[in-house]
Symmetry: C2
Subunit: 125 residues, 2 copies
Amino acid sequence: MTEPDHAHPVDPERVAHARTRLPGREETAQLTSVLSLMADPTRARVLFALDMVEELCVGDLALALDANEDAVGYALRLLRTAGLVANRKQGRVVYYRLAEGFPAPLRDHCLRQLVVLANAAPEDD
Amino acid sequence: MTEPDHAHPVDPERVAHARTRLPGREETAQLTSVLSLMADPTRARVLFALDMVEELCVGDLALALDANEDAVGYALRLLRTAGLVANRKQGRVVYYRLAEGFPAPLRDHCLRQLVVLANAAPEDD
DNA sequence: GGGCTACCCGTAGGTCCGTACGGGTATGGG
DNA sequence: CCCATACCCGTACGGACCTACGGGTAGCCC
């Protein structure tokens, strides 16, 4: 059954309450786009690394993450496109850092909190 | 160039610092698995709805999200498998709610904070 | 008890994402 | 002035994810 006749709003009150306060499609899309960016091992580690040390170039970043330069370069491209990281070019080396407009609550509450709960979480699958 | 000879640790100090405090592969995998679960419009909205009202059955949930039952059922399956939601069966109706073991910091700091910043965020692409 | 309802599950298909590879550009050293 | 380096970019491949569909099971109404 794919699309019922809506024969059963079992709890119309709660449904209405949820519908009212639920974020809209557009807000959800924005939110999930940010989360999707963080939901990748390489990108997440890049953000963590840049949160600890203020600046790193691509080569050193790959070295710190034990990843090849392709993966790091691709990750940085997406993060840069999304405006989450900024780059500074000095000579032939490009240094990356967290963007100034990087969402502060996301950095404070999520980025570091998630590390903590990742350690604390017993299992989730 | 995919794998250089590591001829340039430009900032060995920062690289070492990052390497030391960076979360390991396994921690990162756990973290990204949780984030991936939230990085889907349907699942995110399901979690938001369940955070507002304590319980909802599948049909009403689909009704509240303006989604068909297939999508909601699939979303709930994954969330259930990950242990993020629990279900209670009353008669032929199955009520879902956030699991007791649902990471509290994630709920308090991320789930709701992200909604706020989703509204506040001007744009990110 | 028969039939309908609410929901679960396995399968097939389309689509998007991440990785690997090759070439290109700008900078700095000899 | 020429070559090596650090990095960016476009393309092709493989895989994972989400959606859609059909069948199946458990519980309520008549």
